[in-house]
Symmetry: C2
Amino acid sequence: MTDDVLARPANRRGRPPGTSARELEVAALRLFGEQGFHETTVDQIAAAAGVSRRTFFRYYDAKADVLWNEFDTEVETIRSLLAETPADLPVLEAVRRAVLAANHYSAADVPELRRRMTLLSTVPELAASAAVHYDAWERAISAFVARRSGQPEESLYPLVVGRAVLAACRAAYDRWSARADADLVVYLDAALRALAAGLTDDVLGAEPDPVAE
Amino acid sequence: MTDDVLARPANRRGRPPGTSARELEVAALRLFGEQGFHETTVDQIAAAAGVSRRTFFRYYDAKADVLWNEFDTEVETIRSLLAETPADLPVLEAVRRAVLAANHYSAADVPELRRRMTLLSTVPELAASAAVHYDAWERAISAFVARRSGQPEESLYPLVVGRAVLAACRAAYDRWSARADADLVVYLDAALRALAAGLTDDVLGAEPDPVAE
DNA sequence: ATGATTTTCGGCACTCAGTGACGAATGGCA
DNA sequence: TGCCATTCGTCACTGAGTGCCGAAAATCAT
């Protein structure tokens, strides 16, 4: 979060950076919330971080990418968690544990997380930018399933599991960001358990919603 | 497909259209295949249809929207099929039947379908444009699940089912467009059955792929 | 047939995202 | 002080998408 100052090796060679990816993200998040995504120009984001427009595009490939930093690191967390998972654990159970472990946010980070997720699911242009990032998540799951089931990664079932797991998690995210009456992890757990149970009618009709208990 | 000429009420009031959404789609599909999506400008698509750039944007809101015509009508098909489904059928079973019924393409349309799907899953910019169209599909499923389970549409389980079903179908689409060794419906059926079975380890490891039989 | 009405089209001008090129700025190092 | 590495800013350019307005092409009424 604020590890930009300390994480410097202290002796770098060239001109020091005038900003950071994180600083641009914070500025963008604030401006998007104040005036909307489409109404905010890249010039404004760059100016808020005290840097030029061209420099913004050296940190991010596109205007919408500025909100996907933390998500991408979360994918890496899941990938490494799955790599260390014991071989006797059922596939979906291993995936569920890894996803839950990667989504434990400290209370201080929750408000920002909520604002970011609300933007990502509300603004169509931002929702569109999700595709490439979701792809990385799905591949992390699919690769694990393929290893465990001894199938090539491009075959049907690994693909299904990867995408279905992401779909369940996105449903939990949306449900949580729309109305935060319980911990995010509770929703993720309920969604993934329903998926593993086969989405049968009795599971679906059981409780209106997994309210906190 | 070619119902543009006949479907005219014969006496319309103003200047007749110089092209059609379908004609623009065909021109775009050809150009995208020849030179790539990003390398094709809207000017070229419009010129190929004998119309101006400005007119293209009267038929489609964005360059990428030009390939989503048939998908959107398919969503409407699924929606109406689910509306007529008998009440005693299990939810996932009803969804599976509706999806399979909506995906019966005639042999003549298959080559174009394949080219379009390959583009949509290959070009990142086109994959990004999928979000809003997928959203409509998911809502069609979620609304049905919500009705059947007596829950509000925004609650967790309808969301999960809607997204998970789409996820399974997308996996089948990709698997099929990458290597067409079986009918599309076979892959869709296998993916949806696996989802309903709970994605357990024995299901996933059963057969490498549901090759045609 | 002529004019009014209706609908689509074309051209123009504009904003903004994204990219490539190039030189200037700013630090460490010999 | 000179050399090198890295980041930054400026400029110029392409292309997507939008608003505006007048022209074109058809039907309808008189």
